[in-house]
């Protein structure tokens, strides 16, 4: 009888090698037996497999203890231990790139054969360098050394339908295995270590279980990473969206509000008018629907108490010596003033109008942003000890003066230059309201809501101002049409605004561009031209081109035309030769440094981006004045949906805000959306926040700990610690981590 012992690690195919060797001899007409020692068959665990070959029936069923040949599949197992019971005339066949005589010290006097099975296997696509599947390669080497033919080897593979790379690898090993008897005297086999005391079930120590340092088996280990949630990454204001939603899920509105107020002083505004790029980025939309983050932000702002969330606002404290002038009280100016005041700078806020708020007050209608919400948030900002000077225009000359009386100046005057179009009605008399800028219209009617009942209003443009003007005109009784030169898909307005406008009965005239306005005796007539979409322009949107057909031109009857064609910065406030620069003060000035922020510096066109710009510019000012850098380190990689394991989650519909009835919407400036219900201890908002996956951020959900089959994950410092002495690298913790926090790294 010939007996062989195979030493390998789970995943390398040791048991299959035993079967393949047995098959090769079986095809030669021998009696064979092949088996493995089971139970530790997890990937990486050391294992033994056995082969018996005889000319007569084999009746022994015990494990092999005195093998003729020993086969070692793994470098880390190539130790004198493999010689236990080995008969000196047998072979020791090793997976190694070294020649046999490299093992002269380990296995003196033995017959040793070596083959670089790992390289051959990996080259032939069998496993990876970390876990190579070397069994079929080793079969070739074993066959050659033990005197089988190449046909025996390939026949054994064919018998179990192994082809392709297996055949190539086995053949290569058959041809290149090196074998020789090593010099020296055969050493006495190593004495196996004495077994320790076996503990009983009732012994003081946990009984019966041998302590196996299974961490030695592993080829990979779990590690933790913190990734940037896509919502946080997508927030122009820099809010910790995931963080505030998590607080909401715990029902802690004030904590949610505190997290929001760390970055933005206007959550009630953002929770109403933000286009919510966070929701576009939300990984949950691939699962069912994105989290209703905008409504949650509004809920936190409306239900939380800012003075509870942040204690001590307005109380006496030590101010810095430096002073900062903030020009413009739109979202950028308010944000900059707020953050500077929190950093203990004495801030003077200068506003041309009689009230603070800028475009949030003059340009956003009350049905989207009620005045009391805006007033409440502005009051909280001003409560930080900000000196307010309304009715104060700042021109170039005044700006220069400010640079000599303040330590720094922030300019956030927004977009004061309104784009227009020449409709050939230049002869219109003063006071003629036939053609009016949409923003001027919005500012005018908030003070003096004029009835437009029975009038036909045409709004030109496709942005938020166009929608606001159209919907306001509708509320004042007008029949409203919006004329836009591209299609609805390309409109820059917030999607919901367009949808709500259409719901309210506003007609969208797509692919139409105004040409001129004239009077035909009956009333005004707007001549328009039909457009078509051409090749994409610099903005990536299709370029509108005029139709050339004969009926391309047509007239639209109207009483009013409102222009909403976009705005740009009015740079005339800046001294000659100065230049707006991102993150740095303006060039060409002699006094205190002047910084620009908000839409004035970079036209992002949203309140949220302006808030973010105001904060980061405040931090630039702080860095310039104090040398302290508050900017966080560069963001971690973003947690994409590919790192999540969403089988953990259940589908749940998104909670939506209640909306006003259509009848009321057509008649009043009452806020259209009333937000999520605060009834039953805010159960609706808490449940909505509970839908958050918390992408890339550990919530200490314990799932990794619960699912670890070894029980070697323990809570530690707000996260978990792995006992690597016993971690087999099975990867279940990573596979069960819903948030992509745990990942497996090859050793």
């Amino acid at each position: 009888m010939i007996e062989m012992t195979i030493y390998g690690r789970g995943g390398q195919g040791g048991v299959t090698l035993a079967k393949l060797i047995a098959n090769a001899y079986f095809l030669e007409g021998k009696h064979v037996q092949a088996f493995g020692v089971y139970a530790a068959e997890r990937s990486g665990a050391p294992l033994q497999a056995y082969v018996r070959i005889d000319d007569v029936e084999i009746t022994n069923h015990n494990q092999i203890r005195t093998p003729d040949h020993v086969i070692v599949l793994d470098r880390t197992l190539t130790t004198p231990c493999v010689l236990t019971g080995h008969k000196p005339d047998g072979w020791v066949i090793l997976n190694s790139p070294e020649p046999p005589d490299a093992f002269a010290e380990l296995f003196p006097g033995r017959q040793v054969a070596t083959i670089d099975a790992t390289t051959i296997a990996v080259t032939n696509g069998l496993g990876t360098r970390t876990v190579p599947i070397v069994n079929t390669t080793m079969l070739g080497a074993v066959g050659r050394v033990l005197g089988l033919t190449l046909d025996d080897v390939t026949g054994a593979l064919a018998e179990v339908n192994f082809g392709g790379g297996n055949i190539t690898a086995a053949t290569r090993a058959f041809e290149t295995v090196r074998a020789e008897r090593l010099a020296g005297a055969v050493a006495a086999p190593a004495t196996p270590p004495k077994a320790g005391k076996i503990m009983g079930l009732l012994d003081d120590e946990v009984g019966g279980h041998p302590r196996i340092h299974t961490g030695d088996w592993t080829t990979r280990q779990p590690h933790r990473q913190q990734l940037a949630p896509p919502c946080n990454n997508g927030c122009p204001a820099g809010n910790d969206v995931r963080g505030f939603v998590e607080a909401m899920a715990k029902g802690d509105h004030n904590e949610a509000l505190r997290i929001l107020l760390e970055t933005s002083p206007l959550p009630g505004v953002c929770g109403r008018v933000c286009p919510a790029p966070c929701m576009d980025a939300c990984n949950r939309q691939e699962f069912d629907e994105s989290i209703n983050i905008r409504e949650l932000e509004r809920f936190a702002a409306d239900e939380g108490h800012p003075h509870v969330a942040i204690r001590g606002v307005g109380e006496p404290h030590r101010w810095r010596d430096e002073t900062v002038a903030v020009v413009g009280s739109g979202p950028a100016g308010l944000s900059a003033a707020y953050h500077l005041a929190r950093l203990a700078y004495r801030v003077t806020l200068l506003e041309r109008d009689s009230e603070l708020g800028g475009v949030m007050r003059t340009g956003i209608p009350a049905y989207r942003l009620p005045r009391d919400v805006l007033d409440r948030e502005i009051k909280f900002i001003v409560d930080h000890g900000i000196e307010v000077k309304t009715g104060t225009s700042v021109d170039q000359e005044e700006l220069l003066r400010l640079t000599h009386s303040f330590s720094a100046v922030f300019v956030g005057t927004g977009l004061q230059h309104l784009r227009s179009v020449d409709l050939g009605n230049g002869s219109a008399e003063a006071g003629d309201k036939t053609v009016e800028q949409g923003l001027a219209f919005l500012d005018r009617i908030r003070v003096d809501p004029e009835s437009l009942t029975g009038l036909h209003v045409i709004v030109i443009g496709g942005g938020n101002t166009a929608m606001d003007a159209a919907r306001s005109a509708r509320r004042l009784g007008a029949k409203v049409e919006v004329v836009y030169r591209r299609t609805r898909e390309q409109m820059p307005a917030i999607r919901e605004e367009i949808e709500e406008a259409v719901e309210e009965g506003i007609v969208l005239r797509e692919l139409v561009s105004p040409v001129r306005l004239r009077h035909d005796g009956v009333g005004p007539l707007l001549t328009c031209v039909r457009m078509r979409l051409g090749e994409p322009d610099d903005s990536g949107r299709p370029r509108p081109e005029q139709e050339t057909s004969e009926d391309a031109y047509f007239d639209m009857r109207c009483d009013r035309v409102l222009l909403a064609l976009g705005q740009s910065s009015d740079l005339s406030i800046l001294p000659e030769g100065s230049e707006v620069r991102n993150q740095e003060s303006l060039l060409g000035l002699t006094g205190a440094p002047v910084f620009a922020g908000g839409d004035f510096a970079a036209n992002d066109g949203t309140v949220t981006a302006a808030i973010g710009s105001g904060r980061s510019t405040a931090w630039h000012i702080h860095r310039t004045l104090s040398g302290e850098d508050l900017f966080p380190p560069p963001a971690e990689a973003v947690a994409g949906s590919d790192v999540l394991h969403t089988h953990v989650f259940s589908h749940a519909p998104r909670a939506e805000s209640k909306t006003l009835s259509m009848k009321e919407r057509r008649q009043s400036f009452t806020e259209v959306r009333s937000g999520l219900s605060a009834a039953d201890n805010s159960v609706e908002a808490v449940a909505e926040a509970g839908r958050c996956f918390s992408c890339g951020v550990c919530t200490v959900c314990d799932r990794c700990m619960d699912y670890c089959p070894e029980g070697i994950l323990l809570r530690s410092g707000g996260g978990y610690e792995v006992d690597f002495e016993y971690c087999k690298g099975c990867g279940i913790c990573a596979a069960e981590c819903p948030r992509g926090v745990i990942y497996m790294a090859d050793l």
């Binding site: 047995a22 098959n23 037996q33 088996f35 089971y38 139970a39 069923h61 015990n62 018998e159 019966g208």
Partner: protein, 391 residues
């Protein structure tokens, strides 16, 4: 017939599938299945097999697996399943029900230690715990014995003189996961051997509504038990008939209730079952060569226990050593008292129990020879001996 190098689980799956398929012209075949190490590959084989008439139903537990078997068998299908260890323990209630319903279900039991502490290796305590469930129990020592015994099991279980479920046991891993060469039968052979088809006399029939196993008085229950005992007593003869026919079809003769070697003139005889009995063969052969009057018995049929066969084989023997790879706490090995009872009228025979290879301990020829040596020195029997084997 194809000679193949396969695992015990593959061989068992193959035999069960062919037996099920052989009933395709009658009421087909069925079974409920739930996986457990080391039996899982049998279930996988059966699920992959494309039956002409019948199906294996995956269920959520062993308890339900046996429930499906009972329903299928009461419907007249040839029915089979497989389980192991704690799975058998969980199935137990319905195992008893299947026996007392007298349904000719065949179940392969892959012997594995009952936990805790958790252990997946061989120990016959799992199937032996079900010895009183009115099932036949057959223990097999090799891949070939396993295949042949599964086919015999259907013949005996479905015989009208028996009509009882039958368990065919093999060693976990040592048989189930070991590659050995085996003659795998062809479908035509199995068709010929099981040509009578499965006919359950009390099968449910919509044209003849009945209740099976309703409430009974003590007298009816006792009568029912007596019938089962009578059926059990018919088993040795029915098994012998089946073996004869098997030999006619397949050209080889499987072992019967027991298989005795060198017992004719033996003063000392060892009794073992499953693969331990095969390893023992070499040990006994060497002792014989050295001049010791020693023999051995492979114990295959455990229920009904073949008392007469043991009496005949062990008549006049001085020392009997029983190798038990199982343990009934508070008593000892489970085969031991059965054999001792069989020999109750041989008062001068020593019957010594050895507990060996519990929890899957590796039973080497050396360990068995040490047992032989101990037994040869004995003048009287004692308490069961715990024989330590290598880890």
């Amino acid at each position: 017939m194809a000679r193949k190098l396969v695992t015990g689980n593959f061989a068992a799956g193959h035999a069960l599938a062919l037996a099920g398929e052989a009933n395709r012209r009658a009421r087909g075949c069925a079974g409920g299945a739930y996986p457990i190490t080391p039996q899982t590959e049998i279930i996988e084989y059966l699920r992959r097999f494309e039956f002409s008439k019948g199906r294996i139903v995956p269920v959520e537990s062993e308890h339900s697996a046996m429930a499906v078997c009972m329903g299928a068998s009461l419907g007249g299908a040839r029915t089979f399943t497989a389980s192991s260890s704690n799975g058998l323990a969980y199935m137990a209630e319905n195992v008893f029900a299947a026996g007392f319903y007298r349904l000719p279900i065949v179940m392969v039991a892959v012997n594995r230690t009952l936990g805790p502490p958790w252990n997946i290796w061989v120990d016959q305590g799992d199937s032996l715990a079900l010895r009183d469930a009115a099932w036949l129990q057959l223990y097999t020592d090799s891949h070939q014995d396993l295949v042949d015994t599964i086919l015999l099991a259907f013949r005996v279980a479905e015989d009208p003189r028996v009509m009882l479920p039958t368990m065919v046991a093999m060693d976990g891993f040592v048989t189930s996961h070991t590659q050995m060469v085996v003659d795998l039968p062809e479908q035509e052979q199995v068709d010929a051997f099981l040509s009578t088809g499965c006919d359950v006399p009390h099968r449910l029939n919509v044209n003849r509504p009945t209740t099976v196993g309703g409430l009974t008085w003590p007298k009816e229950t006792e009568h029912h038990r007596r019938e089962i005992q009578d059926a059990m007593e018919n088993v040795p003869a029915v098994l012998e008939e089946a073996i004869n026919e098997f030999e006619g079809v397949f050209g080889r003769r499987p072992d019967g209730a027991i298989a005795a070697e060198h017992t004719e003139d033996a003063e000392t005889v060892l009794v073992a079952c499953n693969t331990m009995a095969r390893t023992l063969r070499g040990v006994v052969a060497e002792r014989r060569t050295a001049g010791t009057k020693i023999g051995m018995i492979k114990s295959k049929l455990f229920r009904p226990f073949p008392r007469q066969a043991f009496r005949d084989a062990l008549s006049g023997v001085k020392r009997v050593g029983v190798l038990d790879r199982n343990h009934s706490p508070g008593s000892g090995g489970i085969f031991w008292p059965e054999i001792a009872t069989s020999l109750s009228d041989q008062s001068d025979t020593i019957v010594q129990d050895y507990l060996v290879g519990l929890g899957g301990g590796d039973v080497t020829p050396e360990a068995l020879d040490e047992i032989v040596e101990d037994l040869l020195q004995r003048e009287c029997s004692g308490d069961p001996v715990w024989k330590e084997v290598a880890a």
